[in-house]
């Protein structure tokens, strides 16, 4: 499924995205990686319809797209279930049905006890769970995730990662995940796209050879250390050439 076709995006006179195309299949997670400020969030904003590209085609139905923002962005006047039900508002669902669905999702993300609390009463991790459940609620065809786990403790991060993986497989959702965390990428994504610094260009593509169920820790660590030696990936962490002697371990499928 083609999502972006030859996108160019300019901000003022500065080119931010330079000929970026993106394809993703239902039930798969595509990872986006690149140096800070290279335009990853802009890419997600284009996919979400929050911005329009200077040139190129965005082939996404915004009404079937959900966006898990980096910050929770919950509405402070709504309780957990009301926030989760926010996207159902536009779908013409009866209020009771909306709340029931939201309650079920609150349980799914582990917030059954906090269903009627306001965002200020929730911890950061709990707020991020609401953010995720709010996206699940609309049963999106395309799920956009902008580093949603970066500010969470490890336990919560693992839990939410598992939730996203399970959801994507079960509902055959197409997911695009922006991440800075290589081990997260190896664990979660089926395909990793690496962008260059501004203007962002696709410079590296890595396909995860293992299906989600068999990505055990040993595999993750092995792959992680191999990937770290790839200059394009190292560059996305701001490291120019970390291990110049180990160039030969480069995976071939570039």
């Amino acid at each position: 499924m083609q999502l972006l076709n030859r996108i160019y995006h300019q901000y003022g006179s500065r080119l931010i995205l330079d000929d970026v195309s993106l394809t993703a299949e239902p039930g798969q997670i595509v990872g986006l990686m690149g140096p800070s400020g290279c335009g990853k969030t802009t890419l997600l904003n284009l996919l979400a319809g929050l911005q329009s590209p200077s040139a190129g085609a965005v082939m996404v139905d915004p009404s079937r797209t959900a966006y898990v923002f980096q910050e929770p962005r919950l509405l402070p006047w709504y309780t957990t279930v009301e926030n989760i039900a926010l996207g159902l508002e536009a779908r013409g669902m009866a209020p009771l049905q909306r709340l029931q669905l939201a309650c079920t999702l609150a349980e799914t993300v582990g917030l059954a006890d906090a269903a009627h609390l306001y965002p200020t009463q929730l911890s950061g991790g709990m707020q991020q769970r609401v953010n995720l459940a709010r996206a699940f609620a609309v049963n999106p065809r395309l799920l956009l995730l902008d580093e949603p786990f970066s500010s969470l403790d490890m336990g919560t991060r693992r839990q939410l990662q598992q939730l996203v993986m399970a959801w994507v497989q079960q509902h055959q959702t197409t997911a695009v995940l922006v991440t800075h965390d290589l081990s997260e990428a190896v664990t979660l994504v089926d395909e990793l796209l690496v962008l260059s610094a501004r203007p962002a260009r696709l410079v590296y593509r890595w396909r995860n050879e293992r299906s989600p169920q068999v990505r055990d820790p040993a595999y993750v660590y092995r792959t992680l250390s191999a990937l770290q030696t790839i200059p394009e990936i190292a560059a996305s962490f701001g490291l120019e050439n970390p291990f110049p002697t180990s160039q030969e371990v480069r995976p071939h499928d570039r």
């Binding site: 979400a48 962005r73 509405l75 309650c103």
Partner: protein, 297 residues
């Protein structure tokens, strides 16, 4: 809905845990105690001075009872309420409306802000003098003075309310397909209410004070006018009785509006410390300057 998941989850978390009775009673008791001490001090000092300077509390109580008994209080309270509420409503409609427009239209904001600053800087007494010239002595000049004093404050609050709408929420609204009426109901209305209600609470408190001030000087009816008459008759006990009535009136309106605020904004429970701060601010001269609210976290 007995079997819905809504009732399955625990609503108990939304109810604040009950505090021990002693802890809830103690602040009230302390307040009462300080009031009693003040009355005793007053009672102790009063005999040293002639009645015209400082009548004893009992005299004030008697004067108060007389005002109630003779029914003199009701027309005065009615007139003052008319002036305060009339002026306040005018301020909310005109100041608030212009403020919301200015909040979305930067050019209008740029045009109106200097006028607003000038109005905020003008003492109410100056308006009163003008109002006497323009409208003569009557209801109109009181209402006008209240409106012109409170209006700029409401205007600034409304501009602020529009300006503090988080653009990130607008993105959320767009992603989740909230348009038109839905967006207004889910986003604009709760946000504006949470910003405007506190300004209105402060504005109404100011309205009472300005209304009574203008009545003392330029309006033949209302509590202020009665104060003036009592003063002219050298009946200090009655002056004080009117002051007690004023305090009761302001407190009642303040409590009522604050309760409405708590009902409308359940997610914004004011902490006790904030309440105290706001009370002390409400009686200070700083009422006359634009209200800046702490940013939402």
């Amino acid at each position: 809905m007995p079997n819905s998941p809504v009732s399955k989850t625990r609503p108990a978390a939304a109810i604040p845990p009950a505090r021990p009775l002693g802890q809830t009673l103690r602040p009230g008791l302390m307040g009462l105690l300080s009031l009693v001490i003040l009355l005793l001090l007053w009672q102790g000092i009063a005999p040293r001075y002639p009645n015209v300077i400082l009548p004893p509390p009992a005299d004030v109580a008697l004067a108060l009872a007389r005002l109630f008994g003779e029914g003199q209080i009701w027309p005065a309270v009615g007139a003052t309420t008319l002036h305060a509420l009339g002026g306040f409503c005018l301020a909310v409609v005109v100041g608030g409306g212009l403020g919301l427009l200015a909040g979305v239209q930067p050019l209008l904001q740029a045009a109106l802000t200097p006028i607003c600053v000038a109005l905020l800087g003008t003492p109410p007494i100056a308006w009163l003098v003008l109002a006497m010239v323009w409208f003569g002595l009557g209801h109109t000049n009181s209402i006008f003075t209240v409106a012109v004093t409170v209006g700029p404050m409401v205007f600034t609050g409304a501009v602020d309310a529009m300006a503090t709408l988080n653009p990130q929420w607008l993105e959320v609204a767009q992603v989740y397909q909230l348009w038109g009426r839905n967006r207004f109901r889910c986003l604009y209305w709760p946000h504006l209410m949470s910003r405007l209600l506190p300004v209105w609470v402060a504005g109404l408190g100011l309205s009472w004070r300005v209304a009574i001030m203008s009545e003392v000087l330029a309006t033949p009816n209302g509590i202020g006018a009665e104060l003036n008459t009592a003063r002219a008759n050298l009946d200090t006990a009655e002056v004080m009785a009117w002051i007690v009535i004023t305090i009761a009136l302001v407190l009642a309106s303040d409590t009522l509006l604050r309760q409405g605020q708590q009902r409308l904004l359940p997610w914004q429970q004011e902490k006790a410390s904030q309440q105290r701060l706001r009370r002390s601010c409400a009686t200070a001269q700083s009422d006359l300057s634009p209200v800046r609210l702490p940013a939402d976290s």
